[in-house]
Every structure is written in C-alpha cells, then in structure tokens.
Symmetry: C2
Subunit: 338 residues, 2 copies
C-alpha cells in the first residue's frame, strides 16, 4: 500500500495540493474553513509529509552534523546531550560523527565530501586539524568550531577562555599551599593548541604568584585519557622530587592520575592534590571527588547551535566570530580534602 501523499489529501479535501502544503507548513493566509477541511483530511488519511521530497525541493536537509573525536569520552557525550535538544528546538536533526581525532578523517568531513548534502551545517570539535586544513575546507559549508581554534574569519568559534580557566585552576592549587605543581597534558605541536593554552595558564598562575615553573614538571601526553594520566603520574611519582599537586588537562587524565597515586598508597589530596578540567559527571562520584574547571556546556551548545543556524539562514557570507561561554572553578575533595 502506497504511503499517502499531499495529492491524496488534496483530493480528499477538495483543494489543490499547494493549499495542503500551505496548511502543513503553517503558511500564509489560509481560511479557517479550508484549514479545517485539510486538517480533517490529513487526520483521516494519516498523512505525514515526506521529508525526503521536501529536502529535495528546498535544497536543505534540516540536519546538522556534530563531529567529535570520541563519542565515549564523557565530555563530548555530555556536550552532545546538550546540543541535540538545542538543535531539535530549532527544527534541526542532529547527525553525529566520530573521527577518532584523525586529521584525515576530520579533513574529509569539512572538505567537499559526498555527504555534504546530508547536512546544512556542521559543528566540529577538531583534534587533529591544522589551521591549514580549516583553510582548505568546503567554503559552502556553514561551520562552527568548538574548542581552541582561532577563526580565520570564515567560520565561528565557540569555547571558554582556556587560559583564564587554567590560570584559575593552578591558582587554586597555589592557594591551598602547593608549591611544586606539575601539569599533565601538554602538546607542544601544531595541533595541540588546546593543550598549549592550558600550559599558558599554568605558567601565568605561577608568574602571578611569583613562583618559578619547573619545566620538567610539564608532562606531555598525546591524548587526554585516563591511561595518559595514569602513565604520566607514574613518571612523576618515580622522581626523587615528586610534585605536591597536579593540574590535569582533562578530568579523565585526573582520574587516571589519581588512580595511580592511590595505587601507590599516596593520599589525595594530602600527599598530592589533583585538579582536572571539563567537569564530567564521573568526577562528582569518584573517590575522591575531583576538583575541576567546569565549562558551561549548555551555553556552549546553545551558542554553537544558534550561531550555526544563523549562518545557515544567512544569504550572504557572514563574518566569523569568537564566542566565549562561561566557566567556573569547582573545588572538590581532590584538592580540598574530605
């Protein structure tokens, strides 16, 4: 049995297909009486518009794609959780893509890929993309970038003030009396901008407090996972002069670091204080609970979606902007104790 179409409804209601379309889309001026007739017909036939046909006719898909490196990283999962309803509210479906932080994969997605027609715009949280990749992207694709990238003026960028947030995190460690502070997560190479901003905050906090930075306490990691934190912490604790506090560039890193410290019989925060970044749910339930920098994820999601939709609707190219969401220092047991 064929799916009922606009034409079927029109025939039953005794009006033209175009009028049915007008009713369905809440368009323009339709008399109450015709509207009633049409709606009755729609109900009787159980008509539902064919989105595929509408997409072709309008040239828009009504979908946006959100690209994250890892879906199972709590920070991204929580962010997506915020983006989906925000987009849905504006009439957009959300496609989700996952790149494993692979530069090539990310590059293809923002390039002239064959899936382009499937979405009207993209929100991407790149990990492997270099600035040049962003420059080489499909210019027809409305784009909002999350995380730490400076826009070249043709796309928007949404994030928190990482330097300020990192500074606050480290200042907090200093405020509770720590003096040998390590940092876990630096990425001193082109695609590691996110990490570098945090390192900059790390330095800034030291400087503000008049403390020297022990460069050997800045540990690089290729990713921001638990295992990276666990490994780095092990290296730190193997030293003759271990730190008394650690600033981790993600809560997962912090979780891994704490795991290692506790496993060695150290007390957190008494022997070594730990602060993370992201405020993922885990951190509120782990043992000890993890002090962290909490980005306003809802705000990030809303800003990104609003801006993307604006960009999609724009007939002219609009200039890229830098949007900052709020963040907050959330001290918990891993720095304050119980």
């Amino acid at each position: 049995m064929r799916e009922t179409t606009l034409r079927d409804v029109a025939d039953l209601a005794g009006v033209s297909p175009r009028t049915v379309s007008n009713v369905v889309n809440g368009y323009a001026k339709v008399t109450d009486s015709t509207r009633a007739k049409v709606e009755a017909a729609i109900a009787e036939l159980g008509y539902r518009p064919n989105v595929l046909a509408r997409n072709l006719a309008t040239g828009r898909s009504g979908q946006i794609v959100v690209v994250v490196p890892y879906l199972d990283t709590p920070y991204f999962a929580e962010l997506l959780q915020a983006i989906i309803p925000a987009a849905r509210k504006l009439g957009y479906n959300v496609l989700i893509d996952q790149t494993d932080g692979d530069r090539q994969h990310e590059g293809e997605l923002i390039g002239r890929g064959s899936r382009r027609h499937l979405f009207d715009g993209m929100i991407i949280s790149p990990l492997g993309l270099a600035q040049e990749d962003l420059a080489a992207r499909d210019p027809s694709l409305p784009l909002v970038v999350l995380g730490e990238r400076v826009s070249d003026g043709t796309f928007d960028h949404v994030g928190i003030d990482d330097v300020a947030a990192s500074t606050e995190a480290v200042a907090h460690l200093i405020a509770i009396g720590r003096r040998r502070i390590a940092a876990i997560g630096d990425q001193p190479y082109p695609t590691g901008e996110a990490a570098q901003l945090r390192t900059r905050g790390f330095r800034a906090a030291h400087e503000a407090a008049g403390l020297p930075v022990d460069e050997s306490l800045i540990i690089g990691t290729t990713r921001f996972n638990r295992i990276d934190g666990a490994t780095a912490m092990a290296a730190l604790l193997d030293r003759a002069d271990p730190p008394d506090a650690v600033f981790c560039y993600s809560d997962l890193v912090a979780s891994g670091a704490i795991h290692t410290a506790l496993g060695r019989g150290l007390r957190v925060p008494e022997d070594i204080a730990v602060i993370g970044y992201d405020d993922i749910e885990d951190g509120r339930y782990s043992q000890p609970t993890i002090s962290t920098i909490s980005p306003d994820k809802k705000a990030i999601a809303q800003l990104a979606v609003d801006r993307l939709v604006l960009r999609i609707a724009a007939s002219e190219p609009i200039p890229g902007v830098e949007l900052r969401a709020a963040h907050q220092l959330v001290p918990r047991q891993s720095t304050l104790g119980y």
Copy 2:
C-alpha cells in the same frame, strides 16, 4: 554558483545522464572507455551526487537511527561507538536519538512520526516502553530492539543472556565466600524487565548454592545511575545487619555504591565486595577497579546492524529473531582485592 549535477557531467563527457548515473553507482555494464570519460568529467567538475535527490528517487534515506535513553551513559556511548562504524561499513549513516527513557518519547519514535522518512530502520534500546507500545508501533519501520525484550515476532531482539550473566556474577560473589549478598537495581514493574532478569539470576545463583535469599536485601532503584547506587548502598549500610557483598545492576550503580562504602570508611572488597554490570571503561580505572559482567558490545552492534540491514532489504516481512551476544565475567579488585 550552482552545484554541478549529473547533467553537467553528462554534457561534458558527451554521454547521457543515465550513463553517468550508472558509472557513479558502479552499475552494470559500462565500457572502460565510457567509464574513463565520465570519471574524467566527474573529476574535472568536482561532481558529487546529490544524496537528497537520490533519496527521493529511491525512496530510501540511507540512514538508520539509533535510539538510546541517555547519550552520556557510558554503556550507551560505548555501544554507539561500536554501532556507527558497523553501519557506516554497510553504507548507512547513523542518526542518534536520545529519549531520557521517556515512554512517550520512545513511543513516538517507533510510531508513525513525521521523521519516519529520514531513516530506513531503527535500533532502539527502550527503557520506558511497555510491550503494548511495541505492538502499536509503525509496522512499516524495520526495527531491532536492544536489551531485554521478548520479540512479538515482528521485530528482532539483540542482547546477552541476562539471567545467565547475573547468575554468574552472583555465583562469583558466593565463590569468594560471601553469604549475605544484596542486589541493587530491581524494578518490579512492567517496564523493568531488564532489571527483573537480573534479579532472577540473583535468585538462581542463591538457589544453585543452596543459600536462602534475604528479600530485604533486594533494593529497587528507578534508574541505573551512580546516585541510585550511592543511595541504595547508604540504606544497606544503615542496617543493623549490612550485607558483605552487593550485586549492582550496572557499573554506574556499582561506582556509586563503592563511593558510599568508601566514604564510610569501609574497605572494598574486604568489608563489602561489589560487582557491577556493563564493563564500562570507568570501571577499569576507578579505585578499586570494578568487577563486572562484560557484554560483547562489538558483537551486539554487529548483530543489530546486520539484522537491521537485512530487514530493510527484505521485500517480504521476515520473522523476528532473538540474537544473543556473548558475555563474560570479569573479576577485578572490587571483588578480588588488590
């Protein structure tokens, strides 16, 4: 500037649009020479097929939707992480939807919703759906259900053997010498089938060991989150006769339960052993690491996608099947100690 179309390519290559289509789709018999001409034209113009138009013409969207209650629940995130590549490999895009476990929301999704045309099939992990909701669904929607539902024969069901897995988990607790074992997560109402199967396993293990079940040690929770585990554990520990082991119906519940126990100065597993369910990544890094039942998520994903694609391709209705993925008991520190 207009996007180039099939027709543009055809004109440049000096063939008919239909032939270009044949080349693009790798169809049928196309001479090497024509293929070469067409491919050259495609490359020169940077042509990419318009998926929207193709969708309308074929009546298929090439998308499947995966519906989960919560995106930020690690188990579902990890499952999605497995489903996406499996689907992509078969040429399907994955849409993700999140229902908050809301029965009405879930019901709408499997019903005659207006988004129906956006996907060719659905994989759903229902939480609030009753059997009757499943019966009232849109029969035109190819459907694969994850988790604990018995199929009515018109859709497929993929899961692990929950009763067996739960039995193993509890048997493990018994094997390490525990005798007063609690269960956290029972849901003795129609939509709580998942939980009930685990409770059944809990009982079965007791019976097999010749142990009586203390009904008061079976604690109900409305959800399977950390907070539920934390709260339930608190109640258990407030008793005059607290248990010496707990079987938690998810790793998150276990995590919350452990958090409470440790917070009260108890040792895990010495004072109270804890085992979870799901094998989420957290459990491998928490302190202590969490013993668990590990469902083969990759297998679940593959089975679900394969079956759904089969169902989509089928011209005739095909009977629903029950597919079982493997599971494994993974003992860690929360039962074995350090």
